[in-house]
Symmetry: C2
Subunit: 226 residues, 2 copies
């Protein structure tokens, strides 16, 4: 072997070592973003006006059960949803009251009601289908506001910054088990009071074999979080 | 630049080109395995003995609707399933009759019935929970046989060989859209008469935003199929 060949072999070795080091840094040195799962059943958010009609003027929501996100709760109050093809009764109201009434159902609920609800983030109600909401004191016919919730995580500003996440970004989430896999297009919602949690609906949870409190892994741009 | 340096630079360039070529071969030159989706609602397979009890001695299944797999069909006959917590009526029987009765439900159905059915491949019924099946002529109490179907593809021997797949292997399947993602642990079922199809249940379909006849991509060991 002459000098040139030796030099070339040395350089080749250096390059290959460099490449190997890069590869292992990406796959093993990362610290995962571990996200607890929160499963949402169908529910309704009400504004003051609709609350008045459905439960009586000036009526208040009764706190039934806390949910993981601070300030939010499942109310004792329930309503019936009526669509062109069917009804769903005992649909829980989530508190507190909001500026806009919003109905969140599953895809299967949409078939049962005859309402073709789009997959949307909370608050993104433009051109979403309407629905009839029936309460003990009255009923309201909403012109829009029925959606299937877009999968998302809640995260605090501190934790978001630590993981290089910004409000509105999309990440992927990986779960294990026989029905494991990757959920793409998980929207990041950053808010001051947020507790880290993946919000998915019952069908997403059952389809992925996930339950409340299970832990899934956040994935960013194809690589585990550092 | 001396000879050695020039030589080293040339080798470096060769290696980098080689690496780049390898990478692009893996990601772009592959021909995808495109799999049509078949969504299974809850259903029952009956053996001769249970058919006799439920629908009358010597009764025959009535062909109601063909399914994609040759020889299989949805029957006109339906049964009621009864578990400790509830009932599900109008559950369709799938024909033809089989050697063993088997009940396939969703995770949500399991909650409604009060039956904790495991995710299993068809025929793998050991220690699966029992259920009561009620027909127009009688009822049977099964000691086992209630499962949630394990996601799988049907594929012919020729197509399997073309894609390097063997019966019993697991692949991944990728879907697009707002609820896109990757389904892991999709079992490959090779059989002579099979037509290429991904079988998932209603919750998997709705959780992934998939419908009957949608096309998903087969993925093998992290890379698209060649």
């Amino acid at each position: 072997m002459n000098d040139t060949e030796q030099q070339a072999e040395w350089i080749t070795r250096q390059i290959l070592q460099e490449l190997a080091a890069n590869r292992s840094a990406k796959t093993s040195a990362a610290v995962a973003l571990e996200i607890p799962v929160g499963v949402s059943n169908r529910h309704v958010h009400l504004n003051r006006e609709d609350m008045d009609i459905l439960f009586g003027y000036g009526s208040l929501l009764t706190r039934f059960k806390a949910v993981r996100q601070p300030g939010q709760y499942a109310a004792a109050e329930t309503v019936t949803l009526r669509g062109p093809k069917g009804e769903l009764s005992k649909v829980r109201v989530l508190g507190p009251l909001r500026a806009t009434t919003q109905v969140e159902i599953s895809v299967a609920d949409g078939f049962a009601l005859g309402v073709s609800a789009p997959v949307r983030m909370s608050g993104d109600l433009l051109d979403s289908p309407g629905i009839e909401i029936i309460g003990p004191a009255g009923r309201v016919v909403k012109r829009q506001g029925t959606i299937v919730a877009w999968r998302h995580i809640h995260i605090s500003p501190e934790e978001a910054e630590r993981h290089g996440l910004r409000d509105g970004m999309e990440i992927e989430v990986q779960g294990d088990g026989p029905r494991g896999g990757v959920l793409s297009h998980v929207v990041v919602r950053v808010s001051a009071e947020a507790v880290l949690e993946l919000h998915i609906d019952v069908e997403e949870a059952n389809g992925f074999g996930l339950r409340n409190g299970d832990i899934v892994q956040g994935i960013k741009q194809g690589a585990r979080y550092e």
